[in-house]
């Protein structure tokens, strides 16, 4: 665990973050640059208003809301099984991972536990969505920095894991497979063997990416020492996932706060951290995570217990009165749902704590003083999904 230094200094650091002075020897006229709403580096419609002084960014303010769908309002008029289909669309690259914390929160309130087989398959699919999500990040980040090849390789190899997700759930992107008390279905025949093959291909892809992208000299020049986030700042902004671990904080909800219903303790794996906190560290940690995820999947595939995939739950799901917060380590970081139930068919209030919202809120702090091309590296390496910011 990284030691966090004196807490009183955070006030100064926060004040500094809102301070827009730029320390230049000569006065020059600034200009405002609108990056977006549509820009390749924002994978969607996020607009960055950057105030520049020459090539240097004085301040950068992300403008959200081009994709706000109001999920927190919509879920208040939907039953729990209906919500499951909706929240698939929050982080659309790792959809299955969105369902799990919500289902676990409902299960916690109901006092239901999924059978072991369902917990195993849940964890496997969770890690598969992580691989599907992060492998695209590796390719996409390469594309943003001018390495087209990485993008093609990522799209090619991501297909292997998407095929497995589709074979098990019926949906390539939006599985809607998790249920309160278990899973919709058991695995199809031959899926376990096929998944082993797919994971081997993904492990080869990781090795390839390590040489092709992360080991590339141009890539390293554009990411090393750029957008450094110290651990203390990362924590106070609530950065999570690989962004936090790249700042040297050894914290992973899969290991340290794993909610009941996922079986990460049944596999032997490692949480990777990096001390640098720069764009390179964030990419490197994600690459290692993809590898670990494939290893977790391979181990769990061999130990899936037999039995049913669905616990006994009532046909009409009414969640008892209470409040519960369940967060899991999603591909993008900590994703949590604070569910308030009044004992009805619909939840009374759901607060969706999505990872990208916190992760991108640090942009004004980290982009200050950076150069315009570095802004692309910073945004790309913080890795956000628009649906995960705006919800």
């Amino acid at each position: 665990m990284t030691a966090v230094s004196d807490p009183s200094s955070i006030a100064d650091l926060a004040a500094e973050a809102t301070d827009t002075r730029v320390n230049l020897d000569f006065e020059s006229e600034g200009m405002t640059l609108n990056m977006g709403p549509q820009h390749p580096a924002t994978h969607g419609t996020l607009r960055i208003v950057a105030k520049l002084d020459g090539e240097q960014v004085i301040s950068a303010e992300p403008i959200c809301g081009y994709m706000h769908r109001g999920y927190e309002k919509l879920v208040e008029v939907r039953t729990y099984p209906q919500i499951n289909a909706l929240i698939n669309r929050i982080d659309w690259l790792g959809s299955f991972a969105n369902e799990v914390p919500f289902i676990l929160a409902a299960e916690k309130l109901m006092g239901v536990e999924a059978p072991p087989r369902a917990q195993w398959i849940r964890t496997i699919l969770f890690e598969m969505s992580r691989i599907a999500n992060i492998s695209l990040f590796l390719g996409d980040f390469g594309l943003q920095l001018g390495g087209m090849t990485a993008g093609f390789y990522a799209f090619r190899d991501r297909e292997h894991v998407l095929n497995m997700i589709e074979a098990a759930t019926g949906g390539r992107f939006h599985p809607n497979f998790d249920r309160i008390g278990g899973l919709k279905d058991d695995l199809p025949k031959g899926w376990i063997a096929d998944s082993h093959v797919a994971m081997d291909k993904l492990l080869a892809f990781c090795d390839e990416m390590e040489d092709l992208l992360v080991g590339n000299e141009i890539f390293q020049t554009r990411t090393r020492g750029i957008g450094v986030i110290p651990a203390e700042i990362a924590l106070s902004y609530g950065l999570s996932g690989a962004n936090l671990r790249a700042s040297g904080v050894d914290w992973d909800l899969r290991r340290d706060g794993c909610p009941p219903g996922l079986v990460y303790d049944q596999a032997d794996w490692k949480v990777w951290t990096h001390p640098d906190g720069d764009c390179f560290a964030r990419t490197w940690v994600r690459l290692q995570e993809t590898r670990e995820a494939a290893k977790i999947v391979k181990q769990l595939l061999d130990t899936i217990p037999a039995g049913p995939v669905m616990a006994k739950v009532p046909r009409i799901i009414k969640v008892p009165e209470g409040e519960a917060y369940v967060a899991t380590e999603n591909p993008l970081g900590e994703m949590g749902y604070y569910v308030v139930s009044k004992g009805d068919l619909v939840p009374f209030r759901v607060k969706i704590r999505s990872a990208s919202f916190n992760n991108i809120s640090i942009v004004p702090w980290v982009a200050r003083g950076a150069y315009v091309p570095d802004l692309i590296s910073i945004l790309g390496s913080l890795y956000f999904i628009l649906g995960d910011i705006d919800r």
């Binding site: 309002k73 340290d256 917060y325």
Partner: protein
């Protein structure tokens, strides 16, 4: 991390762990109470799982400083809960519907706050985390209707900046001392606060309850009547 070797050890391990973490949360609550004194108005502990503390509105910022000093350095989120039972819910008809159907208006259900109690319709809720001990605290504060404001956390936890903007936009609760309390998602001239319970969801006004066609009623169950309007 506890590794379970076989099925028969599961129960014993879990029960001892639950008691241990419960004590840890009691200790956290005791320390927070010691730091904040009378400002702690209520609390709730779910053993082995979570801790809720309700603090006085005036001490909201002080509570953040206290939790931060106690090692709860990871900022999770700030949001709010509107405890008003929805006037557009399944059991309640909107006033416009009453004009059409001629039905007598139903009495609104009483406002019942959740864990750690409460006195007001709106409550602000925040979650902070201690990554060294893997415990979190849910902090709540009552916000009276006639003065929907709280001290801002943004100078204590930098991440609160955006969350408070979102809460202001969605619930109309302002945060004193916030540097830039502008809209996050909605246009600047948007009227109303969408996540308040009395803000109608237009899609449901067009196609009102029961809109739960997917839910098959239980034969002879209490929910049988709900599907009749289909």
């Amino acid at each position: 991390m506890i590794r379970l070797s076989s099925a028969d050890t599961t129960e014993a391990t879990e029960s001892t762990e639950a008691v241990a973490t419960d004590e840890a949360r009691e200790a956290v609550l005791a320390e927070l109470t010691g730091r904040l004194g009378d400002s702690v108005l209520g609390s709730h502990i779910r053993p082995g799982d979570d801790l809720w503390v309700r603090v006085d509105r005036a001490a909201w910022r002080r509570a953040a400083e206290a939790t931060r000093a106690m090692g709860f350095t990871f900022f999770d989120y700030v949001s709010a809960i509107d405890w008003l039972p929805s006037p557009f819910g399944r059991d309640m008809d909107a006033q416009e519907d009453l004009v059409v159907s001629g039905a007598a208006p139903k009495e609104p259900a009483p406002i019942v706050q959740g864990y750690a109690g409460g006195e007001t319709r709106f409550q602000v809720i925040a979650h902070v985390y201690n990554i060294a001990t893997a415990t979190g605290i849910h902090l709540k504060a009552d916000v009276p209707d006639d003065d929907l404001s709280l001290p801002s956390w943004s100078s204590v936890y930098a991440g609160a900046n955006w969350h408070e903007r979102e809460t202001r936009e969605m619930f109309g609760i302002t945060f004193d001392g916030h540097p830039n309390l502008i809209n996050m998602y909605l246009p600047t001239d948007f009227q109303g606060f969408p996540l308040r319970k009395d803000f109608p969801l237009l899609a449901r006004r067009v196609r009102p309850w029961p809109g739960i066609v997917d839910v098959e009623p239980m034969p002879g169950g209490a929910d049988d009547a709900e599907g009749d309007d289909q």
